[in-house]
């Protein structure tokens, strides 16, 4: 509940409470359209998938702990290795960063009361959950995806992979893509239109820049993936020949389509992490980010240039030299915006007054791992080196430092940083620091030796390897590291879970944070802010007069909007006052639509086209019901 100064203010807040009250109980969670609740649903679901992907990783590492090990057979190993990749990318990192952090924080940071399309937001979540269950159903039936997460054809074609494994993968990812596309559109509109009046684009937090860039990248990256997956299913199910060389198809086309999606995807994974880093660093160094406009520009540029580098995944396929040189140049150019951001973070640390609490420790870990992954990434833009080391453990080391070390460490730091906001309680600091050191040591121990075994010639995706190659000791070390890392992650979860019930209670702003989520109580009320906050800079919370003005506005009844379920919309660039939006309340339709869509995909998988069509019709019916007029609130 917000701090209330006067009787008028108290009345207004009471009315807001009544208008925005969420339905209690399980039904409330199933029908909610509140961005914070949806964010929490995303959080727990993606953490569950993180645990599943982690168990798969541990099985893979245990199989590789010594040469000629027999724990997993080759077929099981391939399913574990593939599902680990698919899970971590599509069911963990993207949903937790965009779904959980984005959903919970973006509306709070821009001073809005919800996302632009609350029901579509709920739909995104339920589609994501259903697509995850869809993919895991395959695994539990013994038919998990097994041709690697990029599923090169013809290995992924019917001829060489006749089971339903790849169908679970292809349909599951199309299904998942619908969810991501809806979420991305929602973020773009939210960030463009729902910023508090006064928050012109140059006053928008860098966190939101990152999410804006990610959302645009998602919208342009997913179509090529969906085309590729669609072609693949047509080839596999209906005898088309898109990738079948014997009938005039082209196997290499799959690689182009996949990586036109796949490389921007890397930046989609990492950009939210950049956003989290640029939120945590100013708070714990007590200063604004150095070179703010350059960093904002760099975030956008990374997402943009990311679309022009995909061929560096294909340097060994025998494409012409001129093609390789062009894409190598582009791959080197994209290093520049990352370099700017990296140096901006470090300079901010050095010119501020850093306080190394757990969240900042994770950001320091992130900077170190991002450097490791980034520097080895630069090496892969050297064509001959790439052609020698690609598809070895060196590349496994590289991308794990990028998408685990660099993308996930800020997420872990972010969990600690915003934990008091979400729960109203503080985590245990000493345990937090211990969990950082465990996770940091585990990550370094797991992934650093992979560089060396790669340089010693160990290819990736082998379910076993002979002794006597000089690989065994490093593999043992990596497997031990994986368990150290797992214990660190476990400690984080334990710390947060215990603190959620036992932690010291905190106020709205325990860190002295810079952005608007700290303006409201912890946890925030259903309506987020009793009054739409005044914004005159990108570090709104550090403008004390503006916050005092907010309290006065509440008494005056200015920008409280307590009459209905309302939030203001503003203009795209300057965030001038535009109009008042009537926001929808909870609804049973998103979850119903997701269930009907799950029916479509399930019957497509089973090859019952007609039944799938019936479920498609059901989807349309649900959509029609969805678009009936919203009942007006009192």
């Amino acid at each position: 509940m917000a701090t209330v100064a006067s009787p008028e203010a108290a009345r207004r807040v009471q009315r807001l409470e009544r208008v925005w009250r969420e339905r209690p109980g399980l039904l409330g969670w199933l029908t909610t359209c509140d961005h914070k609740r949806i964010g929490i649903l995303y959080l727990f679901t993606s953490l569950a998938f993180f645990a599943a992907g982690g168990v798969e990783a541990l099985l893979v590492r245990t199989q590789l702990i010594r040469p000629d090990n027999g724990l997993l057979g080759p077929e099981k190993f391939d399913q574990m290795m593939t599902t680990h990749g698919v899970t971590m990318i599509f069911l963990f990192v993207i949903p937790i960063s965009i779904g959980a952090f984005g959903n919970y924080l973006v509306p709070l940071m821009i001073g809005s009361r919800d996302m632009a399309f609350p029901r579509m937001n709920a739909l995104s979540y339920w589609l994501f959950l259903a697509s995850g269950i869809f993919i895991y159903t395959g695994l539990f039936l013994g038919h998990g995806p097994n041709a690697g997460w990029f599923d090169y054809v013809p290995l992924g074609s019917k001829q060489y992979d006749p089971g339903p494994n790849v169908d679970f993968y292809a349909l599951g990812l199309i299904f998942n893509g619908v969810s991501s596309t809806a979420a991305a559109i929602n973020f773009i509109v939210t960030i463009f239109k729902l910023r508090a009046p006064g928050m012109s684009l140059n006053r928008m937090p860098l966190f939101c820049y990152a999410f804006l860039a990610v959302s645009f990248a998602l919208i342009f990256a997913l179509p090529p993936l969906n085309v590729a997956l669609g072609f693949l299913e047509l080839d596999r199910r209906l005898g088309f020949h898109f990738f079948d060389v014997a009938h005039g198809g082209d196997a290499l086309m799959w690689q182009h389509l996949f990586w036109i999606f796949g490389h921007p995807e890397v930046y989609i994974i990492i950009l939210p992490a950049f956003g989290i880093a640029t939120s945590i660093i100013p708070t714990f160094t007590r200063r604004k980010m150095v070179a703010f406009p350059l960093v904002a520009l760099a975030e956008i540029l990374v997402a943009f240039i990311g679309f022009g580098v995909w061929v560096h995944h294909m340097f060994a396929t025998g494409l012409s030299s001129i093609t390789l040189v062009y894409f190598a140049a582009a791959s080197l150019i994209i290093v520049v915006p990352s370099g700017i951001q990296l140096f901006a973070w470090i300079t901010t640390l050095n010119t501020g007054r850093p306080e190394f609490k757990t969240p900042l420790l994770f950001i320091c870990g992130f900077i170190i791992f991002f450097l490791l992954g980034g520097l080895s990434g630069v090496m892969f833009a050297a064509i001959p080196f790439d052609q020698q080391l690609t598809d070895t453990y060196f590349v496994v080391a590289h991308f794990h430092f990028v998408i685990f070390g660099a993308a996930v460490f800020p997420i872990l730091g972010g969990l600690y940083y915003w934990f008091p906001k979400v729960t109203g309680r503080m985590y245990h600091e000493r345990t937090g620091q211990l969990s950082f050191w465990l996770a940091f040591t585990g990550t370094a121990l797991t992934f650093f030796p992979m560089h060396i075994v790669g340089l010693l010639g160990m290819p990736r995706r082998v379910y076993t390897y002979p002794g006597g190659m000089g690989w065994s000791d490093y593999n043992l070390l990596e497997s031990i590291g994986a368990y150290v890392l797992a214990s660190g992650l476990f400690l984080i979860v334990a710390n947060l879970l215990v603190s959620a019930f036992r932690g010291v209670r905190v106020g709205p702003d325990p860190w002295g944070g810079a952005t608007l989520e700290w303006a409201t109580s912890s946890p925030p009320p259903d309506y987020n802010f009793p009054v739409i906050p005044k914004v005159t800079s990108a570090y709104a919370m550090w403008d004390r007069e503006d916050r005092e003005e907010d309290a006065r506005k509440l008494t005056r009844g200015d920008l409280v909007l307590e009459r209905g379920h309302e939030t203001p919309a503003s203009t795209v660039l300057d965030a001038d006052w535009d109009e008042i939006l009537e926001m929808p309340s909870d609804s049973p339709w998103p979850i119903t639509l997701a269930a009907a869509a799950a029916g479509v995909f399930a019957f497509l998988l089973l090859g019952h086209w007609l039944v799938a069509g019936v479920f498609g019709g059901l989807c349309l019916a649900v959509l029609a019901a969805w678009h009936r007029q919203e009942p007006q609130l009192a």
């Binding site: 040189v325 520049v336 990296l342 340089l455």
Partner: protein
């Protein structure tokens, strides 16, 4: 630095071990292309180390000065901080990346390109199969598998294809890798500075036995190589003992001949490796097990145990049949 890390590269080949035919480390180059790549790596490592240590140094400084105001001399002046970002985050990286681009992608890459037409002394055709390598010597009838003989200090043009899924031909001590993609032919140079065995392995995930798709390149003096190739070009030897004759009978009348070729006989299968000179090879199943009579018998009777998922069915043979068949195969020198 190179010397020290090379000590980490363990002593690679113990003769007793199957699956081992020389080293497989990009850091132990035995030819100019591999050598250039390795030199490129050590230089890039040196530059990357400077950048990495510099950044770690700055984070350490920040940690040492925690809870204190700004850096000495720099303080909180925004223009100084912004200038630092522009210089070290923008200008220095652009210069360094430019140098990397020119050296790696315009100079070194020339050495690892496909060999120019007419610049090589001989041509080999390697075809990837799930899960072995078929090797053909152009201009001769010689066909072998998994063990590629080349004359030392000779430029050899290797053309690569696949018979099924995508594989990648990779002998790291001699050159970079080249993918084997349906419908296209890749080309790469093989050249060995000195005689020896160089291990290679499939580098693109190709299905359940991707892990057991290894090979070796055997570089030998020109005269030895010519003798080897002349022998490989001959048809299979005729059996000389009654047991070998019975074994040959078994080979030609059971499933063996459906998948394997014995040149000069009715066995013309193309699913498995050519076995005409099986005994000239030191390993079986793409370097999975050593080529010894006991291992050969085990492989024939229970191949799915040795290499699960491979395409060879186990044969139901009694002890005498097995003995004769192995006897016959042992004669295919």
């Amino acid at each position: 630095m190179a010397g020290r890390l090379r000590l980490l590269v363990p002593i690679v080949c113990s003769t007793a071990f199957a699956g081992c035919g020389g080293g497989q480390s990009p850091l132990s180059p035995k030819s100019k292309p591999a050598h250039d790549i390795s030199t490129l790596w050590w230089w890039m490592l040196a530059v990357a180390s400077v950048v990495f240590l510099g950044a770690v140094f700055m984070i350490t400084i920040a940690w040492l000065r925690r809870k204190r105001e700004g850096l000495p001399y720099l303080g909180r002046r925004e223009n100084v901080a912004n200038g630092l970002v522009v210089v070290f985050g923008l200008l220095v990286p652009v210069a360094v990346l430019g140098v990397v681009f020119v050296i790696a992608n315009l100079v070194v890459t020339k050495d690892t390109d496909a060999p120019a037409a007419g610049s090589t002394a001989m041509s080999i055709h390697v075809i990837g199969h799930q899960w072995f390598w078929e090797v053909r010597y152009q201009g001769t009838p010689a066909v072998t598998a998994n063990e590629i003989h080349i004359p030392v200090r000779t430029r050899v043009d290797v053309a690569v294809n696949t018979a099924d899924v995508i594989h990648s031909f990779w002998v790291p001590e001699l050159n970079r890798k080249i993918d084997m993609i349906p419908g296209q032919t890749g080309r790469i140079l093989l050249y060995a500075d000195r005689p020896g065995q160089y291990r290679g392995q499939c580098a693109e995930f190709c299905g359940v036995q991707h892990a057991h798709m290894a090979m070796k390149v055997i570089a030998e003096p020109a005269a030895t190589f010519r003798g080897w190739l002349a022998n490989q070009s001959r048809p299979a030897r005729a059996p000389t003992t009654p047991a070998q004759r019975l074994g040959r009978q078994t080979f030609l009348t059971t499933a063996c001949s459906d998948c394997h070729t014995l040149r000069g006989t009715a066995a013309r299968g193309v699913i498995g490796p050519d076995l005409t000179h099986l005994m000239s090879r030191s390993t079986l199943a793409a370097l999975t097990i050593p080529n010894r009579p006991d291992e050969l018998a085990r492989w024939i009777l229970d191949p799915q145990h040795v290499k699960p998922g491979n395409k060879m069915p186990g044969l139901k043979l009694d002890a005498a049949e097995t003995r004769n068949l192995v006897d016959f195969l042992e004669s295919l020198k």
